[in-house]
Amino acid sequence: MLAAFGKNRALVSSLLRGGNGGDGASAAAVWAVSKRFMSASGDSITVREALNSAIDEEMTADSKVFVMGEEVGEYQGAYKVTKGLLQKFGPDRVLDTPITEAGFTGLGVGAAMYGLKPIVEFMTFNFAMQAIDHLINSAAKTNYMSGGTINVPIVFRGPNGAAAGVAAQHSQCFAAWYGQVPGLKVLVPYDAEDARGLMKAAIRDPDPVVFLENELLYGESFPVSKEVLDPSFTLPIGKAKIMREGSDLTIVTFSKMVGYALKAADELAKEGISVEVVNLRSIRPLDRETINASVRKTSRLLCLEEGWPQHGVCAEICASVVEESFYYLDAPVERICGADVPMPYAANLERLAVPQIDDVIRAARRICFRKQDKRKATA
């Protein structure tokens, strides 16, 4: 079975590489078959595969969906997220753009107003700053300004935040900026299930969605259920997920930091601190209900993000908890954020500029009023 599965995967890959647009149907059939093999053997998929399959399925289901961005076609995607799509759907639906963010983003918004469903890729969200006027003034505000006449069903996606060693201009986290704007929906997937469900929801959503991925997560594998692999699988927008239940401390975070929080929680469990990890999945709408319900249970909050602290996502979470759940708190709210500096290049400095698991553990102990080196035997 597994050998056949392996062969089918190779077959799929070669079909995707070699086929033209007309081979789409057969490539799709083989892909579907290989996916059944995957689910039967309880497979894992990478975040990259999750995104790719989600976009693929939505493009198959709805002819109005198309992909646009730099190197999304013949290059197979700068980070290979759109691999195989050009071969399957052809150059009318997978468009390589020139390096003109303001122009092609405006074009995408115009096409979305007209009724198509563009997926605009930014090679990283750092480059989206060139086009940010179209994201905010052309996309986000239009449904409201037009009294509900014109909606903009567009997805803006790409890697966000720090990668590794790419320095100041390529490492900014934009979650707080986009999260502030009414009219945008801002999603932050962590694992493969998030990537698949949220991407499908984003493409189907009639409003502009900013989909913030993470380059370092693309290659990470996560186990997924049969349900997640089904083409009809979506996740609701605006709902956070409790990744791990706990009773002493709530850690609220998103994207790559979810993995850090889970690892920190494992460590903290050894000293008797039971951590509940909330994976936001959505920056806007922000699931204040889930966040506050968790804090009311644990009485302690630690927010965690990679981006800068001032006016960051964590600032909003802290404000929400202090506003809604003040009387449930046993300790001040705390934040672990990226250092308040432009991203340095040197590896040792970069490590100091981005939160590490040790930072999370130290803060957790502080919030639980434990001294640094005290440990309790596990129950």
Binding site: A112, Y144, G147
Partner: protein, 424 residues
């Protein structure tokens, strides 16, 4: 006063050399940007030799009317241009006259509403530029897309928006075309493919390219007219949109309403090159007299044919003029002379031209036209009164339509504990 007299002399001297240069270059404007531009009027008079004020028309054998288009079209990368003669009839002429007059009267009424503080914020008026809107509608249908910037009242009316909806929106009433939530700069008429109304200069070319992309993607036999002003002509995103439209062969007409002033900055003070139709080496262009509704119509006709034959985008520069200042807070006379504005009204007014043809061809008497003017004025005043009576949007509108899919969304007002709504 002596200063201005000597400037006038210098301007006249410059003009007699057939100069296209700015008075700035000949060293006239020293103090700040105070620049008398009397020569602008004279340049057009010299070019047109007054023909457009006494347009040539004649009845053809079939009873229709052939109207000459006196100003030659300037062409860029085109073998042949639009016809210099257009054929029309009484019904069409009366409709053109009425449509332009409605825009004119509506803008004058808007001026008064703004001064009585019933319109707030920005109000950018279109009077003087009527021929562009009505000429466009002569060639394009409501199945074609139109998108423009913030000077959009005339385009909105041309696309079939009513005066009542316009005034309601200007005054922020719930009967407005955007439920009162857009205002002057954000007018829409989706049914007739009018996509707004955009406040940020330079955004309409890329957005228009997207609309055209949609038409090509869905194989529609239609075009998109993306309108922008001379002030937007140097925007980087325009360059990007031009490249994309040409590269992907989009059915896009890039329309420049060149009224020669970007707010208070005359074109020669903002642009190294003051024409727009010939800026791109790979996109053909036409420059037309934007005060002549027939010229505009013929130019749009050719542009639409060009795009629909799969030749890609084309540029249409309409040489036009706005009588009002940039907006209602601009008297419009600190950067151009009153003589210039008066000259335009006298020599190139778009409505006067059509009136003269109607009278010459004896399609209506002066009295009948006066009655029509009165009737239009009355209808506009009625719409204004009705809009003034209309209600403001309900308070629940504050939180509505942030998203199309907003079920379950919680939205807060300024006092988050006091004002909190969950959408159904």
């Amino acid at each position: 006063m002596n200063g201005s007299k000597s400037m006038l002399k210098l301007a006249a001297a410059a003009l007699s050399k057939g100069l296209q240069e700015s008075p700035l270059k000949s060293g006239l404007a020293e103090k700040g940007n105070f620049c008398r531009t009397v020569f602008l009027t004279r340049r057009y008079s010299a070019e047109c030799s007054g023909k457009e004020t006494n347009p040539t028309s004649k009845k053809s054998d079939s009873g229709e009317i052939d109207v000459e288009i006196p100003v030659k079209f300037d062409l860029h990368l085109l073998e042949s241009g639009p016809s210099q003669v257009t054929t029309t009839n009484k019904e069409e002429l009366m409709k053109i006259y009425t449509d332009m007059q409605i825009i004119r009267r509506a803008e004058i009424a808007a001026d008064m509403l703004f001064k009585s503080q019933m319109i707030r914020g920005f109000c950018h008026l279109y009077d003087g530029q009527e021929a562009v809107s009505v000429g466009l509608e002569r060639a394009l249908s409501y199945d074609d897309n139109v998108i423009t910037a913030y000077r959009d009242h005339g385009i909105f009316l041309g696309r079939g928006g009513t005066v009542f909806e316009l005034f309601s929106e200007l005054m922020g009433k719930r009967t407005g075309c955007a439920l009162g939530k857009g205002g002057s700069m954000h007018l829409y008429h989706r049914e007739h493919n009018f996509w707004g109304g955009w406040g940020i200069v330079g955004t309409t070319p890329p957005l228009g390219a997207g609309l055209a992309f949609g038409q090509k993607y869905e194989k529609k036999p239609n075009v998109t007219a993306a309108i922008y002003g001379d002030g937007a002509g140097n925007q980087g995103q325009l360059f990007e949109a031009q490249n994309l439209a040409a590269l992907w062969n989009l059915p896009l007409i890039l329309v420049i309403e060149n009224n020669h002033f970007g707010m208070g900055t005359a074109e020669w003070r903002s642009s190294k090159k003051t024409t727009h139709y010939d800026r791109v080496s790979y996109i053909p262009g036409i420059k037309t007299d934007g005060m002549d509704v027939f010229a505009v119509g013929e130019a749009f006709k050719l542009c639409k044919e060009h795009c629909l034959s799969g030749k890609g985008p084309i540029t249409l520069e309409a040489d036009t003029y706005r009588y009002h200042g940039h907006s209602m807070s601009d008297p419009g006379s600190t950067y151009r002379s009153r003589q210039e504005i008066q000259g335009m009204r006298q020599e190139r007014d778009p409505i006067e031209r059509v009136r003269k043809i109607i009278l010459k061809e004896e399609l209506a008497t002066n009295e009948e036209l006066k009655d029509l003017d009165k009737q239009i004025r009355h209808e506009v005043d009625e719409a204004s009164a009705k809009a003034r009576e209309a209600e403001f949007p309900g308070e629940e509108e504050l939180f509505a339509n942030i998203y199309k899919a907003d079920s379950g969304l919680i939205v807060t007002g300024c006092d988050r504990k006091h004002s909190k709504v969950q959408m159904s």
